[in-house]
């Protein structure tokens, strides 16, 4: 991707080269390196604001964490949420992409329309759906009542709430998935399709045998990106359920926020954050490996 360029530059240029990095480095130090180091330090203490005598507790927070019921539940919630949302997004995103990849006026209009949900703030999407999904005054239950379906407590029933949150994610990000897949579909060589058509293959067969294998690497990459993003969802849950009812929609970011900011258990919350980063490290490693192997297949 990035060509290594032959550099033969004088002293001024060498000095300026380093100088150009300074703004970015300053921002990163204040906003990333220092807080991360600080967080690591806090995670081995029992620090709570307002309480004197902070002491070093070693790995106590980490041990407590792995035996914590709530931590396990939020991991389970988050994994289930991610699998559901990303699975649906990939299936419907591919479907939508096949439809909008055909470049005519009505499809361009559709592209513009589907861009809307992914552009708006997650908190706004959360508010929007909170109103629509309200058990009594919401439009969704009203529409369902035409089909004789009784009112569902989308956000108030602990068995349903996590699915509702996943549905909002699906609504917001399927277009994103579709748009990435469209650019991949446009890369399918026309001659392949023409040859298949000449041999009398049906459109569905062409999609299954030619298009899907070619866009498979993109599907893997997009799926991974969405999977990672599913562990960053915060605002939507914050405004829709706040993690409830009964912690049934508590995802990891909300759990960290709740422990650290609401209950002031700073040490413990930092330990969750560190475990989280370690987990994302592993996921990132897997991701890069997978991407490289897909890229090789692609070439």
């Amino acid at each position: 991707m990035i060509i290594n360029r032959k550099i033969h530059q004088n002293k001024t240029d060498k000095f300026l080269s380093w100088l150009f990095l300074i703004p970015v480095l300053l921002i990163l130090v204040v906003a990333a390196f220092v807080p991360l180091g600080f967080g690591l330090g806090l995670s081995v203490t029992d620090y709570e604001p307002g309480i004197e005598n902070t002491s070093f507790v070693g790995f106590a927070n980490y041990i407590r964490l792995f035996t914590s019921e709530l931590f396990q539940q939020s991991v389970r919630n988050n994994v289930l949420f991610a699998l559901m949302a990303v699975g649906l997004e990939l299936v419907f995103g591919t479907f939508l992409a096949i439809i909008i990849s055909h470049d005519n006026r009505s499809n361009r209009l559709l592209t513009t329309i589907v861009l809307v949900p992914m552009t708006i703030a997650p908190v706004a999407a959360g508010i929007l759906w909170r109103m629509l999904l309200d058990r009594t005054y919401g439009a969704v239950n009203y529409f369902l009542s035409f089909f004789g379906i009784e009112a569902i407590g989308w956000l108030s029933d602990y068995r349903v709430a996590l699915y509702s949150i996943a549905m909002v994610d699906f609504w917001q990000f399927t277009p994103f998935v579709a748009i990435l897949i469209v650019s991949s579909i446009k890369g399918v060589p026309r001659s392949f399709v023409e040859a298949a058509l000449a041999d009398g293959a049906s459109q569905f067969k062409i999609i299954r045998k030619i298009v899907l294998p070619i866009i498979a690497p993109t599907l893997v990459i997009v799926g991974m990106i969405r999977f990672i993003d599913a562990f960053k969802v915060f605002g939507t849950v914050f405004v829709m359920t706040g993690g409830g009812p009964g912690n049934s929609t508590l995802l990891l970011p909300n759990y960290i926020y709740q422990e650290g900011i609401r209950f002031f258990r700073v040490g413990f919350s930092s330990a969750i954050a560190m475990v989280f980063i370690a987990f994302m490290f592993i996921l990132a490693g897997l991701f890069i490996k997978l991407r490289n192997s897909q890229m090789r297949r692609f070439e």
Partner: protein, 290 residues
């Protein structure tokens, strides 16, 4: 066979005809409804008087319209302050991020830096895009408390800049590496130093890229919520935080809440419509390059 007679002259495949025209029209309408109905509901909820948004069954087409809620968010709920703050935060963050990010991207591509530096940044940016902002939330609060920057726009600019820099850097590095190196060499021979080449020669050639990156940064920053909640108390509160106040406070005031949500959503939609192409190309390049 319609795919073969398509008037588009390029080498692109055409799969759009796998469904017959009526089916496609139905799908288009259905998708359009699913996407747009929530916005219709949002706007009408903002315009309905209280007895109409708390009605069972819900009223689809309001029979009575009031602008009270849109007035109320400005007179009672500080919407003007929130919008001003959001605009300032997003505007300054975009400027800072694009300038700092382009400079770093330029020097990583064309500067005289050891390869290790580039490697370090690439690895770091992949890591930073993996973890969610919330893992640094608590320490960040203490850092800004120490710096006496709580409840300031500066604090939010710094945090937003830091979380947008990876994307900006990655994209800008891609754009700069597409500029032929002959141009750089020519400028070196003409006696331009690195700063002059960055400012007058190369960056003007990647203008469209700069615009795409700026739009993405602006939208992401406008939509940011977490640091807004943690680092502001009152006077630097962005609009996304104001809207969350409607849910955490007691009682749901749907009318003003819907009006406030309109204030969050519509500025961004306008930006997106004006710059749809840049937005799409930026977002796809950003995702697939990481």
């Amino acid at each position: 066979m319609a795919g073969l007679t398509n008037r588009s002259s390029d080498d692109r495949v055409n799969l759009g005809n796998f469904a017959s025209k009526p089916v496609r029209v139905i799908i288009t309408i259905f998708v359009g409804l699913v996407v747009l109905f929530p916005f219709y509901w949002l706007i009408t909820s903002g315009l309905k008087p209280e007895n109409q948004y708390f009605a069972t069954p819900p009223i689809m087409v309001p029979t009575e319209i009031t602008f009270d809620h849109f007035v109320a968010i400005f007179t009672k709920h500080d919407a003007l302050m929130g919008l001003t703050n959001s605009l300032l935060i997003a505007g300054i963050t975009t400027t800072v991020t694009v300038v700092a990010g382009s400079m770093a991207a330029y020097t990583l591509i064309n500067g005289a830096l050891p390869g290790k530096v580039k490697g370090f940044f690439m690895v770091w940016f992949i890591i930073q895009r993996m973890y969610p902002a919330v893992v640094v939330a608590v320490p960040v609060f203490f850092v800004f408390q120490q710096l006496k920057l709580l409840d300031t726009i500066t604090a939010l600019v710094i945090m937003n800049a830091s979380f947008n820099i990876p994307l900006v850097l990655l994209l800008m590095m891609g754009f700069y590496s597409e500029v032929p190196y002959d141009i750089e060499e020519q400028a070196i021979l003409d006696g331009c130093n690195l700063f002059q080449r960055f400012f007058w020669v190369t960056t003007p050639m990647v203008q469209t890229g700069v615009v795409a990156v700026a739009i993405l940064t602006f939208i992401f920053t406008w939509n940011e919520f977490l640091f807004g909640v943690i680092l502001t108390i009152r006077k630097a509160t962005p609009i996304t935080v104001l809207i969350s106040g409607f849910v955490t406070d007691r009682g749901l005031e749907w009318g003003p809440m819907a009006a406030m949500a309109c204030a969050v959503v519509f500025p961004v939609l306008i930006v997106m419509w004006l710059a749809q192409r840049s937005f799409v190309s930026g977002i796809s390049a950003g995702a697939l390059k990481m």
